[in-house]
Symmetry: C2
Subunit: 86 residues, 2 copies
């Protein structure tokens, strides 16, 4: 999977806005059948966000959060503008 | 960011192989300058993987793991084939 290509496009779009460091997290769940995702999925995602929050303390407006859905596919996305490093 | 479009392509490629549920995780770090990423980055990623491992017990060969790098961009990727649900 060419993630570099994907995030490179993203990087360009971001750079146009501000020259800040960013962390991007994506969690995608892909269903093969009609069943819902596993019961642990919401809890798993919540804990992933918890880990990010533990390491990165930023104001709420530095975090963009979205969930995208379509048949058989659900993507949670987090895009964080990081504070300047000391 | 059109994640759905991205993962949809991924989904097609996966479906051609097997009709299994999958969880995909991507963590991207984008640098604006020359400095290295924050010191917590490896630990943060390790903990994210730990959370996934806690919820999803699968054999090692069900997990594809990769790190891709280029100037100013580093992407860690995890692609897990999930066991059939009971």
């Amino acid at each position: 999977m060419d993630w570099l290509k994907f995030f490179r496009a993203e990087k360009k779009a971001n750079s146009a806005k501000t020259a800040k460091d960013r962390l991007m997290l994506a969690v995608a769940y892909q269903r093969s059948g009609l069943a819902n995702g596993p019961a642990y999925l919401p809890k798993l995602r919540e804990e992933l966000l918890g880990v990010v929050r533990k390491y990165i303390q930023v104001p709420d407006d530095a975090v963009q959060f979205s969930v995208q859905r379509e048949a058989g596919l659900e993507v949670l996305e987090l895009n964080i503008t990081l504070p300047d490093q000391p």
